[in-house]
Symmetry: D3
């Protein structure tokens, strides 16, 4: 069960409201790199967690934290929209250049939300829940979480660079910090479970006879004119310690030429296809 306390997890101060930055901040709320995504992803993973209950607890605790991130970011968006012009007259009275810049705000902040945050990204595209990745496989989920936090910290760093507002920089430095922890937290689960060697390939419970292992460890060079890029993935032991990496260069197809033959009567095709 969830509870709430009235203060924000972290102080939000905006020195100079900036409606364009409000638009950019939306990416951190409703973008695929944003906080709705991680809050809901950890929440659904927690609800589906099977095995040691400590992972369920861990997921739910951090899901709860991410809800608090949505909350302070939402407040930051609203504060950046303070003072944005709500009438054409008001706008016209201002420096025309300012108007041009305001032309870059999300018009739905004015028309739809009444100068407050929305669950959309920086293009105004609503977040959709297909981005909540929760597979029921602990390792796959940890990877999904590390990915989400990695792209989240990339975003927060770019937002930090995109503003000169001291209050916003302070808030974003907190977000950058928490994304640091969360990246490591999920990867630490993989470490604890034995690292790559024990974890891979995901799922590690697939019986070996379900796998055509002769195809499991070669890098396929599908280029007609480029040499194989050499690296950790082209030779040496595989990360799971079960085999050796190798290379298959300019591969020949191993399958048949596909053909479906004639269309059947009553299947809605043209006569010429039958």
């Amino acid at each position: 069960m969830f509870h709430h306390s009235s203060k924000l997890q972290y102080t939000v101060k905006v020195d100079t409201p900036d409606p364009q930055f409000a638009k950019l901040l939306q990416q951190a709320i409703g973008g695929v790199e944003g906080e709705i995504r991680v809050a809901m992803q950890y929440f659904f993973q927690a609800m589906g967690a099977r095995g040691d209950d400590k992972y369920r607890d861990m997921l739910m605790m951090t899901a709860t934290e991410e809800l608090s991130h949505i909350e302070f970011l939402g407040h930051a968006v609203a504060l950046n929209l303070e003072g944005a012009p709500v009438t054409a007259k008001e706008e016209a009275a201002k420096d025309p250049l300012v108007n041009a810049i305001l032309g870059g705000m999300n018009p739905r902040h004015l028309l739809s939300s009444g100068l407050s945050a929305m669950p959309v990204n920086a293009n105004g595209v609503p977040f959709d829940m297909s981005h909540v990745y929760a597979t029921g496989n602990l390792a796959a989920d940890m990877m999904a979480n590390a990915m989400a936090e990695g792209s989240g910290r990339v975003l927060a760093s770019r937002l930090y660079n995109a503003t000169e507002d001291a209050g916003m920089k302070d808030m974003l430095s907190f977000l950058i910090a928490r994304d640091t922890m969360h990246q490591q937290q999920w990867l630490a689960v993989i470490e604890e479970l034995g690292g790559m060697q024990a974890t891979l390939p995901i799922p590690n419970s697939t019986p070996e006879n379900h796998e055509a292992t002769e195809h499991s460890y070669y890098f396929l060079n599908t280029s007609l004119d480029r040499p194989t890029p050499q690296g950790r993935w082209t030779s040496g032991p595989s990360l799971d310690g079960r085999s050796q990496f190798s290379v298959k260069d300019k591969p020949e197809p191993e399958g048949q030429v596909p053909s479906l033959g004639k269309a059947r009567p009553n299947s809605g095709a043209q006569k010429e296809q039958m």
Copy 2:
């Protein structure tokens, strides 16, 4: 530039066509765990790759392979739909129980595609390209790729279990194998770049003074009644080697109580809000 040869990358045989399994296979084509996603994700990452060109090459080569996976899976869907009833009369002539089972096929395989594959998932929801994760950050992208291949191999393993058809099991064992390689391939890039220690936190180019580092290494226990789940993430050196993990239990909010005050005139609010 792309080229094509007429044979499939791998042989596709269906011993007993099964329209319901055709529906399930769609998840491997148009699901978020599927092949359109990885083909397009690696393709867009390659187009945006900056730094050592070998990663661009590697991404494009595997993008090309994934296009070939779409191709043989698409053929598998069509073969599973061979013989599905196209008229009510035809269906009624069969065992009523068979009908009931056929009730479980995707009706759009009949109505919309003429008994062939569609770019949709097992629920018939079309793939949407917001799932193509490509950040311009190499490490974040490698995580996204490992995540995609992890969930892809989970899916392929579940599909393997969901059929008794020898041809389909053979094809899926190939897919399971390639997903094994691809998981490792992307994680091997991270290994090559120095592993977790050098890679984390993503992006590793964020200046330390952009980060409130006092918040970077504690696990936040937001539960009112559960002890902190102990693990690799609660104590010991952080994975990036820069600090020590710790725990913050039952945290107090650090921010203010948010309040936006009165609504402005002409902002479309109710009078009572002004």
Copy 3:
């Protein structure tokens, strides 16, 4: 069956074409507060109306009116796009500041629609029909309609403020007026059916023994640190006249700690979860 006459329901005049305002107007066509939504919502409600046929008639009549609103708004968008620059040369010849402002138009008005209206909102996001709310329950549908018209009039008022064009203000004052009527029209159905007391709770046909009525009339204060906000909802008779409002403060969870136990073999989980 539908019919059409060639004149618009209301005169549309644009004194000074404004491509940026064309973008804003799109919200009234293809936004969730817009006319496609209400036209289709009332249309589908009418098709599913059960009970007294007069509600079906009423819904279909207003659905038909809303189609006419789409039509004149679509014309308004096209007139606002008259004269927008279609070549870079043409644009460069103008005042650079004007260009900057034009930078705020929807580029797809130029690239995709050839300077005319599209079924998208002010961010260019296409309307999707999941916003057509039609439950088969008359009272729930009337609430949905009052909601749509309420947010529609909020939008029309904001658009009215966002333009200085006399023609557009005239057209919007008509839209504001019709939204006034439509709000009241749907709420008047509820009045006619006996008002809140007879209508609530929706659906009023749910047998009382399907409801854990001991939980039906208290306000739940889930905050750890805020007093319950007192009001009409915390004491006094409930709006349906069946009970008294009360408050449950700082509630204890009443359920169990959820746990799903081990993952099953062959379910695609990691070995450690089994």
Copy 4:
């Protein structure tokens, strides 16, 4: 800031797991009538609330409760999926009729989530956040909330009817009860603000000279062959007390025949249009 306690808000018991019912229950989680919607809607409304802070508090408190509803419904889905067949062999061993019925489960519960809840509706369509209605206008938002709870209780009642499982009926009776309260709670705000008379038309702050009031109080009969359906909306005082309802029958268009004239050169039209 959010907090969590480990027990569910309400006990969840499933006597006989039923994978088909799990699919149906998804509508209450990820459907437009479901709990993600209300949780997020109240949360975003709270973040944008201007005026008396007690409404912000009220919204946040109930948002928090709705998060707890997602949680126990998610557990209910997982419990209904216990024992669903994960292999074709397992399935074939059972009564073929049972298989047919299982054909009705959501295949992604097996393939994608590992037998747990997903943020999708009963058709497997992911929830998208465009359904979070938050306008910044208190009355419009209260209508949106009453609408959401009205359709939510309709859904919960239908789900109650659709199961014979005592545990599920008990859980749903709690949900029905809370939806009763929440419907009333939001409408009670409108009562407190003076009821329809003071609240309508929404927004009540639009200056009267922005409205073509001669069009504000007639019902428009757009039918060519049906009499106007008489009711509270065709005569008598308007709900806002400002005027009298009337009827406009078989209305004549008041606007012009629209015509856009020739297409401009370089606009991508056919030559014949220029």
Copy 5:
């Protein structure tokens, strides 16, 4: 302006209600091949029509007809849902095989719409308005319309085959007939404008010096192992009469190897990319 008369454009009779067929019929309402699409497509094309006003009229007249098609199909869906079980008890009382078949109905017809039509396709995916193709180019739009009606008649034919109900077959034979007319109607516009020779390439107003015409008339064989499929497109005069078709076999790339070089500081990339 739109008007309505109370009778349906065509009689709808359902001899034996069939909830599964109701699900299939949804494709003709809310599918990409369905009636909402064509109604809205012709409507938006009409609103953007430039040039001879007779095309605007023609488009609006047929848009209006398509609205009437939505209406009778919506009624057909509701009639097919008559008698579908609304309680588990009711369902259990019936033949278990019937239940299994009913397992194939769209559950949202029960849970969300109260046994009536929805603006969704046969998978329950809502129609989205991005499928309204309206370019402002008359010939491109006519092609889009012929395409829509072509796929629409394919769908109607498949639905005809998928039912044994005489009433439904009668209604569908009407739909098949109207799709015949509408296909021809739009292509007749192209004939009237001079056929392929005058119309192609679309847009025919693009100045020839905007086109690298040396690339305009060869078929590109990108296959490594297949001969060029010979046909009308490989030799002989081009359809626009401006040139001759030819073939380019096993083409060499004409462009450069792309490379983006190093990532810039502060761009959120990893250090190793800079």
Copy 6:
């Protein structure tokens, strides 16, 4: 199976990077008129092609070419983003007017992709695969392809006009040329199959007794006040040569007044509907 060579199909040069033009170019990648659409559409049509295998080959060859178009357009987007400001400080140092113009770039090019192409349109809306039209009917698919290429060439012509950059104009002139060929290529299939007369109505395999042919050849004038627009579609032989066009003016509805009667108990309706 697919292969790749490292050079682009066509040279991409950008003389003056322009982040706003990068946004516009996205329409040609991820718009409905763009290259992802045609690549995937031809690919899925090829996988479902039944009848003469030469059409499958043709489709796959052009699908492969379109993948190469995505690739060079993706490079063009990245080159246009070179030098876009990544920090607020950098931006502030520049001419404020330039900033205003940059306000028109897609912020996600900065925040999400790290200055490279994304699979989205000019509004930042991700491409969704429901736009991949593949019916299994050869003629319907050829129409869909001609439509896609027609709107594609309209878009490329508009983009050509929207830039003054010589390199971009050169690249677009190539795209315009290939769209010329592809339009003709698909229509040439229809010519080869006997032209309109043999092809129409699509599908030409629908038995004539499935069609209410008395409704197949009249134009329906649904306008109350406009004369029928005369043209090739109102008189003379139908395009399929089977009949004569005629006109039905001011049509009377032929169907019944729909009515669904009372709602059933337990169906979630209000009591008053029962």
